[in-house]
């Protein structure tokens, strides 16, 4: 009986295959990913059985923080022949700010540079009188400002009185979208989405809804997270 010979084996593993797989996975993630949007506050939306997805274009998103502050986020059309996000934002800004300056002539003028900066910002929401100051702030301070001193003034002081600032923004959005032939997208019910924390009192949401109603935007959507309802 001869001794059993143990074959000498090399401990080096060929990593080429592994590398192939990881590169594939990486490509998959890069192509499918949409990055988490940075928002001044993180909210948990209420669960719902509704399965409709949030539209990813031609959308006005209203974010309601648990402390009642209101922010907005505008997205233009994906189709490059239509209204792009940048133009959408700049035009809304100039219209809203101009109508603010009509009643407040002493407010500083908006520079083209500031408008360009604004078009790159995802979420906005500061009182009009702070707007130019906010845009001029450096990047890292803007979020802080938005969180602490931000919030679009929204209270309805007098019914059928002059527009508050939130309504001014809405009116500007409406007229810009109509100019570009997207009026139907806004009014049709899928153009405005309200995002609010699930444990918030209804009064916070109600104020926003009342403002939307005043501006004749009666159809809108509430952002929810998916809940699977078991069959009875």
């Amino acid at each position: 009986m001869g001794k059993v010979k143990i074959k000498k084996q090399s401990t080096i593993i060929d990593m080429t295959a592994m590398s192939d797989v990881t590169v594939l996975l990486l490509t998959f993630f890069m192509l499918t990913s949409t990055f988490l949007q940075k928002e001044p506050v993180q909210v948990i939306t209420p669960p719902s059985v509704s399965e409709e997805k949030v539209p990813d274009e031609k959308l006005v998103q209203v974010l309601i923080a648990p402390n009642g502050k209101v922010y907005m986020n505008l997205t233009g059309a994906k189709d490059s022949t239509q209204l792009s996000t940048e133009t959408f934002r700049t035009e809304v800004l100039s219209q809203a700010y101009n109508s603010y300056r009509e009643t407040h002539p002493s407010a500083p003028k908006l520079t083209a540079q500031a408008a360009k900066e604004f078009s790159k910002l995802n979420t906005f929401g500061v009182p009009m009188k702070e707007l130019t100051k906010w845009i001029a702030l450096p990047m890292e301070k803007r979020d802080e400002f938005l969180k602490n001193e931000g919030g679009i003034p929204i209270q309805i002081s007098v019914k059928d009185g002059p527009r508050n600032e939130f309504q001014t923004w809405l009116a500007a959005i409406k007229s810009v979208m109509q100019e570009h032939g997207l009026g139907k997208d806004l009014i049709g019910g899928r153009g405005v989405a309200i995002k609010a924390e699930q444990s918030s009192p209804y009064s916070l949401v109600q104020v926003v809804m009342d403002n939307l109603q005043t501006e004749k935007l009666n159809k809108f959507t509430l952002m929810t997270s998916l809940k699977v309802e078991e069959e009875e």
């Binding site: 060929d14 990593m15 080429t16 592994m18 590398s19 990881t22 990486l26 993630f29 499918t32 990913s33 949409t34 990055f35 988490l36 939306t45 209420p46 669960p47 719902s48 059985v49 509704s50 409709e52 997805k53 949030v54 990813d56 923080a65 648990p66 402390n67 009642g68 309805i156 019914k159 019910g189 899928r190 995002k195 609010a196 924390e197 699930q198 444990s199 918030s200 009192p201 209804y202 009064s203 916070l204 949401v205 109600q206 009342d210 939307l212 109603q213 005043t214 004749k216 009666n218 159809k219 809108f220 959507t221 509430l222 952002m223 929810t224 997270s225 998916l226 809940k227 309802e229 009875e232």
Partner: protein
């Protein structure tokens, strides 16, 4: 010279160690996995009545006995940061006209039980639900496809909504200012699940407040007798 070079080249190993490459790829994958949102959030469509004054003749008449009014309530607490939260959600309801003699206001809860909201609505909406369940059975068997099923359900619901003599519940949801936002969404969900053809969100009127006061023992707090409720 040439001969010498050739012999030296033979010594090189052409295999490259892929381990660092794999390491790097793994890191990148992890990064992408953590930064992406795979789940898009859902939306719930909502239509509110216009603020414009509607002619008395144009208003849709409904049978009082069909109406069920739900009053959603809760307790609002505000923390140091100014973030408010609604807890202890409560739901009251009355059927038909508000009972201004005995001030009856019943308690009810969310859930699948027979005496919870689901069971109650199922009982009241039996006619439509039998039609829908039949369609659902067909759909599960594969006799009809998704779009046909959805269209047929919608037709049945619209037919019921238009038919004034049909036996159908008409739901009025009245959240107080203190109600929890998630509850309002949950309530809207129940409307979808139980195929309620006619429902509406409204502010509490005077009679509701009186009922509420008798039930809870204190008047409505927090300026709930709110804003835009054109319908009487």
């Amino acid at each position: 010279m040439a001969k010498k070079d050739k012999s030296r080249q033979k010594k090189f190993d052409t295999r490259i160690d892929f381990t660092p490459m794999v390491d790097m790829n793994m890191l990148l994958i992890t990064f992408f996995m953590l930064c992406t949102t795979m789940l898009k959030s859902q939306t719930l469509d909502l239509v509110l009545p216009t603020n414009d004054n509607v002619n008395k003749e144009e208003e849709t008449k409904i049978k009082e006995s069909d109406a069920i009014t739900f009053i959603l309530d809760g307790n609002v607490t505000t923390d140091k940061m100014g973030q408010s939260k609604s807890t202890d959600s409560k739901i009251y309801y009355y059927e038909g006209k508000p009972d201004m003699e005995n001030f009856t206001l019943n308690d009810i809860k969310f859930g699948n039980d027979k005496d919870a909201i689901r069971g109650m609505l199922q009982k009241r909406n039996k006619e439509l639900l039998t039609i829908v369940n039949k369609l659902k059975a067909d759909w599960k068997k594969g006799a009809i496809n998704d779009s046909v099923y959805n269209a047929k359900v919608r037709d049945a619901r619209e037919k019921q909504a238009a038919d004034l003599n049909a036996k159908r519940p008409i739901i009025v949801i009245k959240p107080t200012a203190n109600a929890c936002y998630a509850d309002v969404v949950h309530m809207l969900d129940e409307m979808q699940i139980n195929q309620i053809s006619t429902y509406q969100i409204e502010a509490l009127n005077k009679q509701d407040s009186t009922l509420y006061e008798h039930k809870v023992g204190h008047p409505l707090g927090g300026g709930a007798s709110a804003p835009a409720a054109p319908a009487k």
